[in-house]
Structure formats: structure tokens, C-alpha cells
Amino acid sequence: MLPELSHEEILRYSRHLLIPEVGLEGQRKLKASSVLVIGTGGLGSPVALYLAAAGVGRIGLVDYDVVEYSNLQRQVIHGTSTLGVLKVESARKRMLDLNPGIQVQVFNEPFTSQNAMRIAKDYDLLVDGSDNFPTRYLSNDVCVLLGKPNVYGSIFRFEGQLSVFDARRGPCYRCLFPEPPPPGSVPTCAEGGVLGVLPGIIGTMQANEAIKLLLGIGEPLIGRLMLYDALEMSVEFVKLRKNPHCKICGPNPEITELIDYEAFCGVPGNDHVDGSQGGGWDITAGELADRLAKGEKIRLIDVREPHELEISRISGADLIPLGQLAGHLSELDSAEEMVVFCQAGMRSKRALDLLVSAGFRKVKNLKGGINAWVKEVDPSQPVY
């Protein structure tokens, strides 16, 4: 039995009720339905806002972060007034302001193998707005094992991907990506940046796919992957097929319960990585400043991109963007003391790995990147 709509709700949803594909019955379906949104960041913001506005009766939010200043360029569910507030609480407040008639359940915890089945089992479908590989594989596997659709969206710089993975009717995420890329081989938005509008576009499309699935209307994006390029303003679709050897949704699955996703991906899924190598490979900003002040000869290599020099710089540093470093090794002297740095320590960690594997030993990674340098040594420049 579908729930009835009050007169107030009929007025609120009147633009839906006018569409024959939704109508009164569709709106009552939405009221009876539930969606779990993984992440309340760039993608999760529009997903949660539009699902709330559309009248999805019960929406779950999973996130463990707090709202930070650099989130607000794209995470539009949050605001300046909720800086420092738990993201799930900030999002719930905004959603209930938009639509007090829905139920918002918050899970202020990382989505892990330990809690994922318990959290996800009571929802009709899952929307993956996460930002790391372990959580993406986890979201996929949870959906395959529970027999639920997973509305997938992912973004980088100006490009977005969208699909609906439903192993009962088509391929899953593992059919397309059987294995994650090795750690560090794919830049993240934290290093490569992302246009703020892009998660808005992809996340809004995820919300649309979720609503279509809940209503049972239209052609869901099952078995197709959409590739969106915001710079070219191009949209392409490729066909996805079930992989007969898929380890979780194939005929002879190896994976029958959740696994250790951080080990599988070789990266942490939950805690922020500071790019620190640990051991003797790190140097702090304070230590570097002291050694330079003593007149030690240390070659500084900035592995950021040229346009980042306009934001901040360390004087005397040579710019060799990470992507070009491999081609410039012959210009570097392995007998010389070197410190590599980037914005926050991730790219320079990869530069360090590259240099060490090429035989360089007198090289260190500036812990926390130029942002740490700015905070500790040269506060006249901005942190970004």
C-alpha cells in the first residue's frame, strides 16, 4: 500500500503530478522509497538536494567529514554558516529546510566493510558520490550482494562519468574496472582540481537516474557509460557488458562477502592522506627553512603546474611539473641534496618515488607541500 499525500504535499509536488509519467501514483511511490547517498561532497550535494526536493521519503547520508572552506566551491548543500559542522548534519539541515516532509537519516561514520551491509540493507538503491577507490568498490560489492542498483558518478577536472550498475540486469562496476589502478597512478581532484559546476551536472544526473529507477520510468543508464566533457561540451556513450569472468557478479563469483577494500586498492579509504612517506624521506617546512637559513645547498624542485606559481612559490625553486619529471632526470644530479614539493605533498610523494626508483638517494619530500611552508615559514602567501 502506497502512502497517501496530504493536501500540502499535493501542492508542493504539483509540477510532478502534472507529468503523466509521475502523477499521483508516482509521487506516492517516491514518498514510499528510500535512497542511500554515499558522500555529501561535490556529487552528494546535488543528489541529496534534488532527492529531498523531489519527495523521496527516506534519504540516508553517509559521510564522516566536516565542512571545510575549500569545499564550498562545489559542495552547494553546505554553506558558510555550516563551516566546521559535520557534513551529514549540515546536509540534513539544508534538506529539511527544503523539504520538512521527508526523513533524513545520517550516518556520521566512514562507509566500511564492517557497517556497509547494515547501513545499506534498508534502502531501495544506493547513489555513489564517494571520492576514493576503496569506497567505490565497496559500494559496488554491497549493491551486488544485496541486489540493489548503484547509481555511479565520478569526476575529474572537466570530465565526468555516469552509469547505473545493477548486476541483476547488467554489468557492475567491477565488470568495467576489474582492478583499481595502482596507488598514485591516477591523479585525484585534490591534486588535479575539478571545475565546481561539474559535480553539479553529474550529481544532478545521478539524482535523475535514481528517480527514474524508483519510479520505474524511462531508460535507466544500465549497460551504458556516459562520458561528459564540459570543455568540449560533448557527451558520449559506450556500451558496457557483463564480464563473464567478473569476480563478484559473474557465474562463478570469487567474492561472496565484503573484503578489505583498502588492502585491495592499496590506499586508505577513509583517513586523509597527507602524502607523507614517513621514514627518512620527509622533511618538514620548519626543518627545510632552518637548513636553508644555515646556507646549506639544497636544490628545490617544484613539481606543480606552471599556473600554480601565481598562487605561491618558494624562491629559488626550479619548476618541473610531475608529468615531465621522468623526461628531466638526466638534468638532475644524484649527488646533490634535493627537496621536492607540490601543493600538499601528494604529487611530490610520487615525484619522490620516481626519483628513488631512478636511483636518487639524497632527495626528500616536503611534508604538507608548499601549503605547510606558507603556514609555518612564509604566511605572506596564501594557502590553497
Binding site: 575529474f156 583499481p180 581532484c189 623526461g327
Partner: protein, 92 residues
Amino acid sequence: MPTIKLPAPLRSYTGGQTLIPVQGTTVAEAMLDLTRQYPTLKPHLYTGEGQLRSFVNLFLNDEDVRRLQGIDTLLQENDRLLLIPSIAGGRE
């Protein structure tokens, strides 16, 4: 000449070029020509043993080459290979 369309994460290795014309009559030859033109791409696409990495997804027009003849799939003059990356999002 066939072309390979590269995703944003790999464009830093091609000086920002997106569509790369390549020589070759098969997917394998086209990919090798790509890494000949841009050697720093190689470790991102191939293992140390010279195998294409399993997370490298290649689509010929809109079809996954694994569902065709894999890297032996023949290429026509105007074919376009699309390289689809694994991207996870924003984790810092």
C-alpha cells in the same frame, strides 16, 4: 589514420593533446605508437612486462575491445579508440 582520445588525467603526458593520430592496423599497434610518441605515458598504460594494464579500458567507437578481439582488434582508417580511465574523485 586512426586516433586515440585520451582522458584528462593522461593529458599532462601529451602536452595537453586530447586526440592523438596513431599509426597501426590493430589496437596493439596503435597503443604502441601512442607510447612511442609520448614515452612518459608508457608506465601508466603498460606493466613492466609489456602487458596493457588491466585498468586500461579501450573502446573502439562505442564497443569495449575486450568484447571484440582484444588488442588484436583490427582498426580502420577513421576509427577512434577511446581510453576510459578509472577515476575516483576528490580524495586528498
